[in-house]
């Protein structure tokens, strides 16, 4: 270990996160990092390796409850930090017993580095042999604050300095005004200023000014590895994940893989669509829990947009329903975190080569489910075809949530007639309620499919 470097052991049962975080930390000269799967803790400890810090992934659904004590037994007195992967829906946090600090999933790479250093300096029980270095923010607080901005936030700041109005900034960056506003709010918080004017003044003081580079600049960023020729053939990837740290970790880790280069990042669906239009990636990598509606919903929106791109939905946990939904949403592949970085990169390359990507062992199940869904759709279409033209109109209005009186007014018929038609619709569709009828019609797209041709 070099002088001043911290040895960090990342403990995570998830290969993709463990490897990504390890590569992210390892890319910074002040850290030496290694990843341990949970079952590796004892084996590594027996080999005599003792880290300065242990960063424990506390967001995994099947993390053992005794994880903290096991780590402490093997490395007594080690400073242990839990990383909570917040930001994704439905995740629960199981506290790691003995952890001296909790880091949230919303933090970015710079936050992580600063936090690890601080916890190491303040939380260590015995004096460290590593001389304390002044943190960059102590020497140049404003410069450090600007350095913590994401690429996109820096672009926004440059446009602020140039005095562009919000609508113009949104147009130049290919963002919606709402997304732009979110970026502005983020950078104000990070710069610890209260107005755009103050932010622009601060930017000028640290020498950040002028117009941003061309919108495609990020797309032209070279890959981290490989020759110019291999970079040219590399799959250009947009990483969409709601967690800044995970995004950055994936970028660092994937850029080190052959045939893959990350050209843009997005924090939510809206930004993913905007970025996909801007950089035209070969592959869009969508976290299954991408805010606000999830990766499958984002997949459907991207596939319905005017884009020629392949979409890979990535899930932390095996999920057959989500796999089926992703395929039905037009997704070209589905990948699991358990495959690690190499597995994810292989899936991306596979998509880039025009192939599909289904997790091993899931193809048979997927085919059976698709066939089953196809039969259900055929039955629904068959039943729908028995409806008269008037009954189809009634169903369309039921889908819109109208009751008999509203339907009667819309079609200029009596409420009694509307009720009779509605009952016929339910009977012919073989359902028991209007809600069920509307659900069947919506699920199989019956209205869109037939009303134009009826």
């Amino acid at each position: 270990m070099g002088v001043g470097t911290l040895s960090v052991r990342v403990v995570s049962p998830c290969p993709l996160l463990g490897e990504s975080l390890t590569r992210l930390l390892g890319a910074q000269s002040e850290f030496e990092a290694a990843w341990d799967a949970v079952e590796d803790i004892e084996r590594e400890a027996d080999a005599g390796s003792r880290p300065d810090l242990v960063l424990v992934d506390a967001g995994w659904h099947d993390s053992p409850p005794d994880l903290g004590p096991r780590i402490q037994r093997r490395w007594p007195g080690v400073v242990m930090i839990e990383l909570v992967r917040a930001g994704a829906r439905g995740e629960r946090h199981r506290p790691v017993q003995g952890a001296v600090a909790t880091l949230g999933g919303k933090l970015d790479a710079n936050d992580l580095a600063v936090s690890l250093r601080r916890v190491h300096e303040r939380g260590r029980l015995r004096p460290t042999s590593v001389p304390r270095r002044r943190a960059p923010e102590e020497d140049d607080p404003e410069g450090s604050a600007v350095a913590r901005l994401t690429e996109r936030e820096t672009e926004v700041l440059r446009l602020l300095v140039a005095g562009h109005p919000p609508a113009e900034m949104a147009r130049v960056l290919g963002l919606s005004v709402n997304t732009l506003r979110a970026h502005v709010q983020n950078l104000l918080v990070k710069l610890q200023v209260h107005s755009r004017l103050e932010a622009a003044a601060l930017a000028r003081r640290v020498g950040l000014g002028g117009a941003p580079g061309p919108p495609a600049a990020a797309a032209d960023r070279p890959a981290g590895r490989g020759t110019a020729a291999t970079r040219e053939r590399a799959a250009r990837v947009l990483v969409a994940d709601g967690r800044p740290l995970v995004r950055t970790a994936l970028r660092v880790a994937l850029d080190a893989e052959d045939g893959v280069v990350v050209v843009a990042e997005a924090a939510d669906t809206e930004e993913a669509i905007a970025e996909a239009h801007r950089v035209r990636p070969d592959v869009v990598l969508l976290d299954a829990q991408l805010p606000p509606g999830g990766g499958v919903e984002a997949c459907a929106l991207i596939k319905s947009a005017d884009l020629v791109t392949r979409v890979l939905v990535v899930s932390e946990h095996p999920d057959e329903e989500r796999l089926l939904a992703a395929v039905e949403a037009g997704g070209d592949g589905y990948s699991e975190w358990s495959g690690g970085i190499a597995g994810l990169a292989a899936d991306i390359r596979r998509l880039h080569a025009g192939e599909a990507s289904i997790p091993p062992g899931m193809l048979g199940l997927l085919l059976r489910r698709l066939i089953q869904r196809g039969r259900e759709a055929d039955r629904a279409v068959d039943r729908f075809s028995r409806l008269s033209r008037r009954e189809r109109e009634i169903l369309a209005l039921m889908v819109e949530g109208m009751d008999n009186h509203a339907i009667a007014r819309a079609l200029v018929i009596s409420p009694h007639t509307a009720r009779t038609h509605a009952q016929n619709v339910l009977s012919k569709l073989g359902v028991h309620s209007r809600v069920e009828a509307a659900a069947v019609a919506a699920e199989f797209g019956l209205i869109e499919r037939f009303m134009g041709a009826s």
């Binding site: 599909a356 289904i358 062992g361 193809l363 997927l366 085919l367 059976r368 698709l370 066939i371």
Partner: protein, 104 residues
């Protein structure tokens, strides 16, 4: 009805006595006498779909969606796999209704 149409309407069926087992990264078809045939995941998935009820056309539709391939390519891939399985006696042909049909 063309040859392709007849193929698409066929409902291939697994004969009794065979079962599928995982071996490493692949699969094998086995019976009481032991392993009979090694196969990849795609062939194994297709063999499992051969239940005498599912038509080849349904398999083609599912493969198109799951593997993102053109229908013509899916038909050709399915034809190759199913014909190979049938030639070894690992599937039997059934045409028409699920429970009936004249076999060929």
């Amino acid at each position: 009805m063309t040859k392709v149409d007849r193929f698409l309407e066929a409902r291939p069926r697994r004969p009794s006595g065979l079962h599928l087992a995982r071996r490493g990264h692949g699969f094998v078809l086995a019976d009481e006498g032991g392993d009979r045939c090694r196969m990849n995941e795609t062939a194994a998935a297709v063999w499992e779909l051969c239940d005498g009820e599912t038509t080849v056309a349904e398999m083609v539709g599912a493969v198109c969606l799951a593997c993102n391939v053109d229908r013509a390519d899916a038909v050709e891939d399915l034809r190759r796999v199913v014909v190979a399985l049938a030639s070894e006696g690992f599937v039997e042909w059934r045409v028409g209704a699920a429970a009936g049909g004249d076999g060929r």
